[in-house]
Symmetry: C2
Subunit: 351 residues, 2 copies
């Protein structure tokens, strides 16, 4: 039907391969990172990869204790006033590996003596050449402009790196369960397609996407997919940030996508779901928590994930999948080609 759909559906196999092929390399790199004893993880990325970097931010701080900073590349490329990265682990994340600004951050880090690492689907790219170490995504070529399997691949390999750095067996075991959990999430497609063809969603010009903690990056990534493929002004927020001003956007018949997995973020999601329902907002809920799924406006707008054996920390690698499918079907319902969004190319390089 579309390349985007093919690539969404390849994710269980692509991720399984990426994790398997990445393991020995990542184990080796993790050992050297621990020997280097960085005092900071500094990650540079754009677009979908930046959402993966935001995920890594939560994961690395929680599992390694290292503070994480997400780079502002303009300080490197425009102002030539980069921060001190001598004792940092500097990671560049890019599907294409072609972004000039991401390469500049890696080069500066390396010049200063940082440990540098590229995570890219193109091991021949400028980014791969600039970094001392390279983790190839190994998810196969991605042809659709809207990135999907490279996103889950990036998340999976960053989680594998966190597991190896922290020697966390819970993460390791959870990673093994991901492909079959994604496979089950793919089976939600018919329901998502049905919903995308309802007038409320088909005609929406704006919406909210909401998550907290580990699934805040999922809200960011689902919003980006909706923007890229369906030209919807999707406003992504952590449920906490949303209460500091943007809540004023809540109104009758506004669609909101709430994403969460069993864990400490759920109570805040439920509270917000109640407040939004009181304003007449239409809730589409994605997750494995009964309470959250019950908050969906109708049974048709509740999408249950099977996250057995997968902790909340790894749930974003599954919970994004219904959002990818929904964005794709919404584009088709609106008469757009999700493989070729207007105004975009597959490789974008900014300075």
């Amino acid at each position: 039907m579309t390349l985007m759909r093919d690539e969404i559906r390849e994710q269980p196999q692509a991720l399984e391969r990426a994790l398997k092929e990445g393991l020995p390399l990542i184990r080796n790199i993790a050992r050297r990172i621990n020997a280097f004893q960085p005092d900071l993880v500094f990650i540079a990325a754009r677009g979908t990869s930046d959402n993966a970097a935001t995920y890594a931010r939560y994961l690395f701080e929680a599992f390694t204790g290292l503070p994480v900073s997400l780079a502002a590349p303009s300080l490197f490329t425009l102002y030539h006033r980069p921060p001190n990265l001598k004792k940092a682990l500097v990671i560049g994340v890019s599907q294409s590996g072609g972004g000039e600004d991401i390469v500049a951050v890696i080069k500066e880090g390396r010049k200063q003596g940082a440990m540098t690492l590229a995570l890219t689907n193109n091991p021949e790219s400028a980014l791969a050449q600039a970094a001392a170490d390279v983790i190839p995504l190994n998810v196969g070529p991605e042809l659709s402009v809207a990135a999907t399997k490279t996103y889950t691949g990036e998340l999976g390999l960053l989680a594998l790196l966190a597991a190896e750095l922290s020697d966390d067996n819970g993460l390791r075991l959870g990673l093994e369960r991901l492909p079959s959990s994604i496979d089950k999430a793919l089976q939600l497609e018919d329901g998502l397609k049905h919903l995308a063809n309802q007038e409320l969603y088909k005609n929406a010009r704006h919406c909210l996407t909401l998550g907290r903690g580990y699934n805040f990056p999922t809200a960011l990534e689902v919003a980006l997919k909706l923007k890229e493929t369906s030209y919807i002004f999707a406003a992504p927020y952590s449920t906490a940030d949303f209460l500091h001003g943007p809540f004023a956007l809540a109104e009758q018949s506004l669609p909101a996508i709430l994403i969460g997995a069993n864990g400490p973020a759920i109570p805040g999601l439920l509270d917000l779901a109640k407040k939004l329902t009181a304003e007449g907002v239409e809730l589409l809920c994605i997750g494995d928590d009964d309470g959250l799924l019950k908050m969906a406006t109708s049974r048709e707008s509740a999408f249950r994930l099977d996250l057995s054996g997968i902790s909340e920390a790894l749930s974003p690698i599954v919970s994004v999948v219904p959002g990818q499918l929904f964005a794709m079907h919404l584009a088709l319902a609106r008469g757009f080609n999700p493989d070729k969004p207007r105004g975009l190319q597959k490789v974008t390089s900014t300075k």
Copy 2:
């Protein structure tokens, strides 16, 4: 007319007082920070204050060389897995000082041995009590729900701290020029009010706000004001990030607010302005660069700032002002009360 307007118009005097009263205290704190030799600045904030934190991110990295990380409070409050902050300067920024999550970050930092600092308009607040050092904003009570003078106050005092930490006389001299520059920006009000009453803006349900580098936080803050007061889905982006996907949103008659000051961010803004114009996007430009102002769709939508003696690094303290006025007049034009946005209270505490 409105409290928000009064508070916007108070900004020259409020900032002047804040800087004057803050100087001896901030000089003393800066000396102790330099003696402490932090290896990281870690800033926690929400809403408008989080946009001030994003500004501080650019300023501190550029002027002190210290890497900056913007906190993910859920790691403290929900997951109880905070990062290592032993050698960090931990700053909490909050108008009210009442946010439970921001207090939790400060407390954890202090427990770990970090240097802790609260920047708040309420020196009796929980945040002020939690931190070892407090910088009071001293901008007077802010009564409008939409924060304005506390934002420019936060920016000014964070810039003063950067100036003292880096002993940078350019910043110090520029800070003295800010009140008169803001005063001149306030004179743009009639033109902004006129534009806000035009059908294109009055009826807009969504728009873009765009800036790069130092003025990326300005794009964030103007978007937040538009959301809070006028319920517009304003999508804020750095001009670089905008090209990585969100450019697909560009279409005929979409309003976009471009903000920039003379400096290395301008060429990228101009390139993007051309691309947006080719798609039929309506450009409202704010800044002091002739080229940028010429890109405005009409002469009526070009708003010239007087930034003489003020470097790009300090320009956000002025360039936000037309955005504040525009958001307020847009709310009035649409029949909303900007002082009392629907669903919001002045003090928001999240966990």
